[in-house]
């Protein structure tokens, strides 16, 4: 718990301020006071590289709350973890928390 708090504090300090963009999707689940900030999925940087149908609807349904994205699922190679595995895109881990949780 302390480690998570420390990491959250580091994340809050280290994360540069980012402007909200149209298409940012916030995943508020399982987050609360004292925990990591919610994950934000930025559509803009993904659609620079992929058309909509690269991910929709095979990997993600186009409906808020329809995709049970969890860190466990990501680390098991599902959802974001299909690409965010350190090969195609940056891996999820304790060095990259604040790239999504911001």
């Amino acid at each position: 718990m302390l480690a998570v708090l420390v990491l959250a504090a580091i994340a809050a300090i280290a994360a540069p301020p980012r402007l909200a963009m149209l298409g940012d999707v916030v995943f508020p689940r399982h987050t609360g006071p004292g925990e990591l900030p919610p994950a934000v999925f930025p559509h803009w940087v993904h659609r620079m590289q992929f058309k909509c149908y690269a991910c929709h609807d095979a990997l993600f349904q186009m409906k808020a709350g329809a995709n049970p994205v969890t860190m466990d699922a990501i680390q098991a190679g599902k959802f974001c973890g299909i690409c965010h595995n350190g090969k195609t895109a940056f891996a999820v881990g304790f060095t990259t928390c604040n790239r999504c949780h911001r």
């Binding site: 149209l22 298409g23 803009w44 909509c52 149908y53 690269a54 609807d57």
Partner: protein
């Protein structure tokens, strides 16, 4: 100084002169080999070569003969350009360079048209693009022809596949979907994307209602 010069140098010069000039050839040879190496034996002295001044480079042998063709394939062929991504990978910087619409948002359709971005069709780099459908659908509200909206299938199928919208959001039959602006603002039909990941209906009127182009 003077006595040293007379007692050492002068006898050396005299004896040297006597050795080289005063004896017969065989004696001179044996005496000279005492001091110098590689002295040719008497009678075999090679005549000294005449120094001939020559140009530094020999003149061209045959002016008429064409020079051999340079090895074109090896040297003059430009090296292949290093593999360079077609678009920048500095995403925030690229974002700042993308075309904008009247409301200041990114005009993704134009960015794709102008090839400022080259989004891939799938996670697999070899995934083929889905077909682009050049079909405009006119949606004319009752008694309000000025507010005719034109839905461009082309702009949408550059990004989306048919199954992304049909039949889940829109039925594939004219007039089957009672689309209204109120429903769009409430997040139905076009509002499933527009206002969320695509330009907002509130600020993009003339992009669908083309007759409103130029309106304030």
């Amino acid at each position: 100084m003077r006595p040293a010069f007379i007692t050492i140098v002068v006898p050396m010069l005299l004896s040297g002169f006597a050795v080289t000039s005063g004896c017969g050839q065989a004696t001179r040879h044996s005496a000279v080999t005492l001091f110098f190496e590689d002295v040719p034996p008497p009678g075999k002295e090679s005549p000294s070569k005449a120094v001939v001044r020559q140009p530094r480079r020999p003149p061209p042998a045959q002016a008429a003969a064409p020079p051999p063709p340079p090895p074109v394939a090896e040297t003059t062929k430009p090296l292949p350009e290093p593999e360079k991504p077609a678009v920048s990978r500095d995403w925030p910087q690229l974002l700042s360079q993308l075309p904008r619409d009247a409301a200041g948002g990114v005009d993704w359709v134009r960015a794709l048209e102008d090839k400022r971005i080259e989004p891939k069709a799938g996670l697999d780099a070899a995934a083929p693009n889905q077909p682009v459908l050049p079909l405009d659908v006119e949606l004319i509200p009752k008694n309000q022809p000025l507010f005719k909206a034109i839905f461009s299938h082309k702009a949408h199928t550059e990004w989306l596949g048919c199954a992304n919208c049909h039949p889940g959001i829109f039925q594939m039959r004219r007039g089957a979907d009672p689309i209204t602006m109120a429903k769009i603002f409430a997040g139905e039909y076009c509002g499933r994307c527009h206002g969320k990941v695509a330009f907002a209906p509130a600020t993009g009127c003339p992009r669908c209602h083309t007759a409103l182009k130029g309106a304030p």
